[in-house]
């Protein structure tokens, strides 16, 4: 047998690989350093439970979508249309979920039960995802282009539907999903994010679907020869992220208690950044759900910390942009090594 290869293989698996450890958990270390720094710099204002829960609530919208983006990036795709999907789902959902007595009622004589607007948000997302999935798999358009188009026309759709104005009069029961707290403490979005993260983790690591997702990212040609229906899996990955974006739209609308067609503007950037900071590779085949959650928290902590430190919003953009680049450089190096 060729000994050199075996030698490298054994070395990689030897007792404790510091380099692999640092590579894998680097991001958590940075996050912890950040937390310590912010705690001291803000005289522990940062560490207050309300502030921490606030951070998690803030990230739950794009964090939810980042879970889906992990699947999309693993199959070497991308979805730029999630922010626009958020807006469309929000306006449609809220239009169906106004109180009976709301002033500017969208459907004057129609107040369906609350389950309708909830389902509507998710179904709108599903449909947006299915359209993207169809364009990518049937018409074989690159995901970047397909979802770039969708980003524009879905936003336009949201503006047309709402006539460019926020839809107010949202049923408090519906808004509770985005702004409410269980037992007055635990924000509902945090619970949704947690449940979704566990579910997505199981889907990605314990099911045939998840294995096929990794296979396509690992080598799509080989996946095809192994009998995997690449188009089918790709289609469902886009449906999945669409549904998560729809749900995020409902949460974000609930937080501001209205369906605003400007919701989710440029959100795709936070979503992709969260996934990539969390170690999901732009080159496909690699990614974890817990990484995306950490990545989302990272962005939340960064935003919150910079607010607390009174850093100007303009400067905050610069910092976030630089962090995206650093995350991708780390990713590239990891894959080369």
């Amino acid at each position: 047998m060729t000994t050199p290869n075996i030698a490298t293989a054994t070395k990689a698996a030897s007792a404790f690989d510091w380099r692999a450890f640092v590579k894998n958990y680097f991001i958590i270390g940075i996050l912890l350093l950040f937390v310590v720094f912010l705690s001291i710099a803000t005289r522990f204002k940062f560490l207050q439970v309300t502030n921490l829960l606030n951070i998690v609530t803030q990230v739950s919208g794009f964090g939810l979508i980042a879970l889906g983006m992990v699947f999309v990036l693993i199959i070497k795709g991308i979805d730029l249309s999630v922010g626009a999907t958020v807006a469309l789902a929000a306006v449609i959902s809220v239009s169906l979920g106004q109180t009976a007595t709301a002033g500017n009622k969208f459907f004057p004589d129609f107040t369906p039960p609350i389950v309708v607007p909830i389902l509507a948000a998710i179904v709108v997302g599903l449909i947006c995802g299915a359209i993207n999935g169809t364009i990518v798999t049937v018409f074989r358009i690159a995901p970047f282009i397909a979802t770039l188009g969708a980003m524009t026309y879905l936003r336009g759709g949201a503006l047309i539907y709402s006539d460019g104005k926020p839809i107010s009069g949202m049923d408090p029961a519906l808004a509770f999903i985005g702004g409410g707290k269980l037992f007055g403490v635990l924000p509902i979005p945090v619970i949704i994010l947690t449940v979704a993260a566990v579910g997505m983790h199981i889907l990605l690591t314990k099911t045939r679907f998840g294995l096929h997702v990794f296979a396509i990212g690992g080598n799509d040609q080989a996946a095809r020869v192994s009998g995997i229906n690449i188009r089918k899996v790709t289609f469902w990955v886009f449906v999945l992220i669409g549904a998560l974006a729809g749900l995020a739209g409902l949460i974000l609308a609930g937080r501001i208690e209205s369906g605003n067609p400007q919701l989710g503007y440029q959100m795709e950037m936070d979503v992709i950044t969260a996934a990539v900071i969390g170690g999901t590779s732009f080159n496909g085949g690699v990614g974890t759900i817990w990484g995306a959650v950490i990545g989302s928290l990272f962005i939340g902590v960064l935003n919150n910390g910079m607010d607390l430190l009174n850093i100007s919003p303009f400067m905050q953009l610069v910092v976030k942009g630089v962090i995206i680049i650093i995350a991708i450089i780390i990713d590239e190096r990891k894959n080369r090594a």
């Binding site: 047998m1 060729t2 290869n5 075996i6 490298t8 293989a9 054994t10 990689a12 698996a13 314990k206 099911t207 045939r208 679907f209 294995l211 096929h212 990794f214 296979a215 690992g218 080598n219 040609q221 080989a222 996946a223 095809r224 020869v225 192994s226 009998g227 995997i228 229906n229 085949g285 690699v286």
Partner: protein
């Protein structure tokens, strides 16, 4: 003067794991057409890549017109008057013909700007002189493959080379264009240019070549004037190795027909192919590069769509529109190119192994990891796969071990028919014989095995019957008892002597 325009002597070149060239020579007289012959992997292409400066020789000397030269890169090769028409054409499709001909040595006019007009005129003159009817303004992508080939030939001529290497120049062109090419070659020869002509087609050799050099397994065999050779002598030179390194298949009981393929057609690459394979049998597919063997497997397995034809598994016709249909029908396909269509390098050994059988392990959609780990560990043991753990990324294993993991991928699906394309390509001798033994054992268990191989000893040693292909067609099916290197090579080169099916 030695009387040779080119003398390559004592050339050796090793790649990791193979000695591609071993003390090889080539001597070309000025103003002649010199054919290089040999089986796949004989070393012809490697030798030419050394000559044009793409590869560096480990040992040996190159002389041009008696002068010792070094050719460290391709521009040095061109400067010394050596140009090559590659088998795989490499035009820039969006640019026009003239730009492609003068690519990298654009003709510039005022202010150092590229002069389209001058280049077009130069290209037109070139075409006029050699009777090529192509508009220099056409974009490359608008040309047919044959026209593209002619442009490449014109480009090679335009370097005013002393030596032009043509690697299978007629593989994509029609007979009329072949005639045209031969006229150009004869004219070049009259002007004193030497042509090194690589081909698998015997007829062409006798039509156009003055001298023939034969290589085999990276070694020089003979250089002779074409007039002293005929088909049979040439084949004997090409295959005349002593078969010491055979891999005998173990005895297996041959049962009923499991797979029958009738009248399979796909484009230009698979033409009316019919064959069958029985339980316990290893059916070999022999043929030269591009004969359509891989394409037959891909079509049967549903990787590519057939235009027509019947696939019958255990007496029942099956519709194979995609690989999952083929897997459901009890087939497995181990592809030729391990990197391109085999392994998923960053995924673990386990994930790679379980890929094709995943549905079996997840009736509810959830993967049964306990069973998967158990079965994969068994495979690792049974095939003695050397890996530190099931979690190791497969990309870190040696080629032989990767190949074994891929065999396991199919064994886990319990196929009745296992198709293996080049089972031992690029793996070392030890792993090779293990894989041969494994194939024998699978046949003994009653599986039907179809093996495509370009290695003559492997084909002869392992196969119960051998399907020989030539230009997309089955040119003969030979029983083990009747199979010799000469018979196979005659059928593979499309000679009429074999008993046609």
């Amino acid at each position: 003067m030695s009387g040779y325009v080119l003398e390559m002597e004592g050339i050796s070149k090793a790649f990791p794991g193979v000695q591609a060239l071993d003390n090889v020579e080539l001597k070309v007289r000025p103003g002649t057409v010199h054919a290089l012959m040999g089986e796949n992997g004989a070393g012809k292409s490697t030798l030419m890549k050394i000559l044009i400066g793409l590869y560096q020789e480990d040992e040996g000397t190159i002389k041009l017109d008696g002068q010792l030269v070094k050719i460290p890169n391709t521009s040095a090769g061109l400067a010394l008057g050596v140009s090559m028409i590659h088998q795989e054409l490499s035009p820039v499709p969006e640019r026009n013909v003239a730009e492609n001909i003068y690519l990298g040595r654009e003709i510039t006019g005022k202010f150092g700007l590229v002069s389209q007009r001058t280049m077009r005129q130069a290209a037109q003159e070139l075409f006029d002189r050699w009777g090529i009817q192509i508009n220099p303004r056409s974009k490359m992508k608008e040309l047919s493959i044959a026209q593209t080939q002619m442009v490449e030939i014109a480009k090679a001529i335009s370097y005013d080379s002393r030596i032009i290497i043509m690697d299978e120049p007629t593989s994509a062109i029609t007979e009329v264009e072949v005639e045209h090419l031969f006229r150009i070659i004869r004219a070049l020869r009259t002007e004193g240019t030497s042509i090194i002509y690589i081909t698998h087609k015997m007829d062409e050799v006798f039509q156009i070549a003055d001298d023939v050099t034969v290589y085999r397994d990276g070694k020089w065999v003979a250089t002779k004037p074409a007039s002293e050779l005929d088909h049979d002598k040439l084949i004997t030179l090409m295959v005349g190795r002593e078969l010491t390194n055979l891999f005998p298949k173990l005895e297996a009981e041959i049962g009923e027909v499991v797979l029958e393929v009738k009248g399979l057609n796909r484009g230009d690459v698979v033409k009316d192919v019919s064959f069958n394979v029985r339980r316990g049998e290893i059916l070999g597919f022999a043929g030269l590069m591009g004969a359509g063997r891989t394409e037959v497997l891909e079509t049967v397995f549903g990787v590519e769509k057939a235009d027509s034809g019947e696939i019958i598994v255990e007496g029942k016709p099956v519709r194979v529109a995609s690989p999952d249909d083929a897997i459901a029908a009890g087939m497995g396909l181990l592809t030729e190119d391990r990197k391109l269509t085999g392994i998923m390098p960053i995924l673990s050994v386990r994930d790679n192994m379980v890929m094709a059988a995943a549905p079996k392990y997840s009736p509810s959609g959830f993967l049964d990891f306990a069973q998967i780990n158990k079965d994969c560990a068994e495979q690792v043991k049974a095939l003695s796969i050397k890996t530190p753990s099931l979690k190791q990324a497969i990309g870190n294993l040696s080629g032989g071990n990767q190949q074994k993991v891929l065999i396991s991928r199919w064994l886990l699906t319990s196929p009745e028919i296992l198709m293996i394309d080049e089972p031992t390509r690029g793996i070392d001798v030890g792993a090779k014989s293990e894989i041969h033994k494994l194939m024998s054992q699978l046949a003994q268990q009653g599986k039907a095995i179809i093996m495509v191989s370009s290695e003559m000893p492997e084909v002869l040693g392992m196969s119960d019957r051998i399907v020989v292909m030539h230009e997309g067609k089955v040119s003969g099916i030979v029983d083990r008892a009747d199979a010799t290197q000469e018979v196979i090579m005659q059928l593979a080169t499309g000679m009429e002597t074999g008993e046609a099916k």
